[in-house]
């Protein structure tokens, strides 16, 4: 192979092309294989969950969608996902409401405001937050955040109690509620959203920015007219990534939340539950039927996550004119 004399310079070109074709074929098959593998894994998970769920759902004596209790191993098995669905969605929504604006702010700061020598270490610091294990967040949440939430929750109770959702039924109860969980989840998803949006903001075509500045825009106006519209699909997909983690967060929620099978709109009252937390807490001592019931709840979480992601794709597709492909 290496015996190449200057004489066969003409012959080398087709041979090289042949090599690259083989490389193409290998790479094409590898990447197609990876794609297929992902689908197979997804199908295997869905199939497994569906099969186990079917075993449990047939024996459920309550309505799976409207029942509050989770007692599949009782003499009369009754279990439902009403409380879990509510808790999962509400805590994730609170997390997104807090995390997305802050993450966009951090990302803008790193990509457009901070001097380069601060921006780089700062970005690393944010990435580091993503590497903290969630049990550590959970312990921090229950041992530090919860005791220090007292002031905020009683303030909210006093001044925002008229909104009903921020009305605390009884004072002095530790705020191990969905609201605190939401705040904790916000901190946990912050680095994920920040990391992705930061990269998107960096991709904003220099010419767009300079055009905006040339037209007399201030820096804020430039960001509003050039950076944010360009980055919007990126912000959305970053948020979806973060939302995925918030929906599926397990041990931090299990550590912080005081769970029960009541559905209340009083977000400052302890109680409720989430899918992942419920599975983590109930799985250890569950009987066979209890396990299958937990699988059924896992399937619902799977479907919810798919729906949320699908919705996000639709939003991004609608705004394709702004996407990086156009630039």
């Amino acid at each position: 192979m290496t015996s190449s004399s200057p004489a066969d310079a003409r012959g080398r070109t087709p041979r090289r092309r042949g090599d690259s074709r083989r490389g193409d074929a290998v790479f094409f098959n590898l990447s197609r294989g990876a794609g297929i593998l992902l689908l197979v894994i997804m199908a295997a998970i869905a199939g497994f969950l569906t099969y186990r769920s079917a075993l449990a759902l047939g024996k459920n004596e309550g309505n799976f969608f409207t029942t509050f209790e989770w007692t599949p191993d009782a003499a009369k098995p009754v279990f439902g996902i009403a409380v879990l669905t509510f808790g999962t969605l509400v805590s994730a929504l609170i997390a997104m409401a807090i995390a997305v604006p802050v993450a966009v702010g951090i990302a803008l700061f790193i990509s457009h405001y901070a001097p380069r020598r601060i921006a780089q270490p700062f970005a690393y610091l944010v990435d580091l937050l993503a590497a903290v294990p969630s049990i550590v967040y959970g312990l921090w949440g229950v041992l530090f955040l919860v005791p220090h939430m007292d002031g905020l929750t009683s303030w909210m109770d006093q001044y925002l109690g008229w909104t009903y959702i921020f009305d605390q039924s009884s004072a002095g109860v530790p705020p191990r509620n969905l609201f605190t969980v939401g705040i904790l989840l916000a901190i946990m998803v912050l680095p994920i959203i920040t990391a992705v949006t930061r990269e998107v903001f960096r991709q904003v075509p220099r010419m767009h920015e300079e055009a905006a500045l040339a037209l007399g825009a201030t820096r804020w106006e430039m960001i509003r007219t050039a950076v944010l519209p360009f980055g919007r699909p990126g912000i959305i997909s970053a948020s979806m990534l973060g939302l995925g983690r918030a929906l599926g967060e397990t041990i931090a929620v299990a550590t912080v939340l005081s769970t029960n099978s009541k559905l209340t709109l009083h977000l400052l009252d302890p109680g409720g539950g989430t899918f992942a937390e419920n599975i983590a807490l109930k799985f250890n001592e569950a009987q066979p039927l209890g396990r299958d019931a937990l699988m059924a709840s896992g399937l619902v979480l799977f479907v919810i996550t798919l729906l949320v992601n699908g919705a996000a794709r639709v939003i991004i597709a609608r705004r394709k004119e702004y996407s990086g492909a156009a630039a």
Partner: protein, 377 residues
Amino acid sequence: MNLRNGRSKALAIGAVALVSTLSLSACGTDDNTKPAANGSSSGASTAAKIACADKGGALLAAGSTAQTPAIDVWKAAYGNACSTTTLTYGGGGSGAGVTQFNQGKIAFAGSDGALKAAEIDASKAVCTGGQGIDLPMVGGLISIVFNVEGVDKLIVDGPTLAKIFDSQITKWNAPEIAALNPGVNLPAADIQAIHRSEDSGTTQNLTAYLAKAGGGNWKYPAAKSWAGQGGQSANGSAGVAAQVKQTKNSISYVELSYAQTNKLNSAAIATGASKPVEATAANGATTLANAKVVGQGADMALDIDYATKAEGAYPLTLVTYEIVCDKGNKAETLPALKSFLTYTVSDEGQQAIGQVGYVPLPKELAGKVKTQIDALA
């Protein structure tokens, strides 16, 4: 391109965090875990008194996680003295332990509950010419822990506890509590009752007590999952202990070692004896001494009287068993099995686990168990 890199980097970060979550949650949810024991130090002093089996080998066991810390203490001490025998105790829960025992995979099983009739029948296939029997080995007790400002000593009784944990009493200065605690300045604050959020043997023992001694105020059957109204929940004994520690006006239940290591106040229980009974290992042992043996023949399954009125008998006491064959144990592991259990039931063995928050078996009961161990074949 760069955008994709950013995404995949974030995905990778997420994946790393997820993996660490999974691995950590796997060990984090193991309940009933007691603090690590200083078994090796106590083991060294007792090493001389342990009679090793002539022929060592591997001794396999599995079952109750409530026993794991006790077994760990014993394993360290026994291993120091008898290096030829290696004990392996897999947790996995009582149910898994009994199943493996009845499949003949292990020499003995640790179990929170005595064998059921069907399980005894199944054991006859493994124990040639004999059957599985329950040997009481690890005693424990559940402390009612509380955190009320200005109150160091609290007295409760079964009906009051049932009402507190079912939110029928919601104030610390309720007449029921005040009547039991004359002269104590109880605050007019809400009671923050805390229970386990996951299914737990501790909850089962407490609710069994409340159902028996609660004077009809506990309307639910004894169960591993919490059925009472109201209150808040926390994950694991450690989580409950931490909540009681940091929540004013709270009350909950944990095994003795958690009350001790977290320096929580334990309530005394008014049982009808001449004075309220404190939650101490000695008082737990009194209850065990009064427990009736309900097992047939060599089986020593105990029936603990939760409604006991005996002097100095703490009612919230429990015992867990080692399950062995009375006859038909495997010949190759029998000497090691007898040697190990002889040590665990001995005074030294029981005192060693007493230091880590268990209740040492009373001497008379231990003597009876020893007789059964000697007769194993």
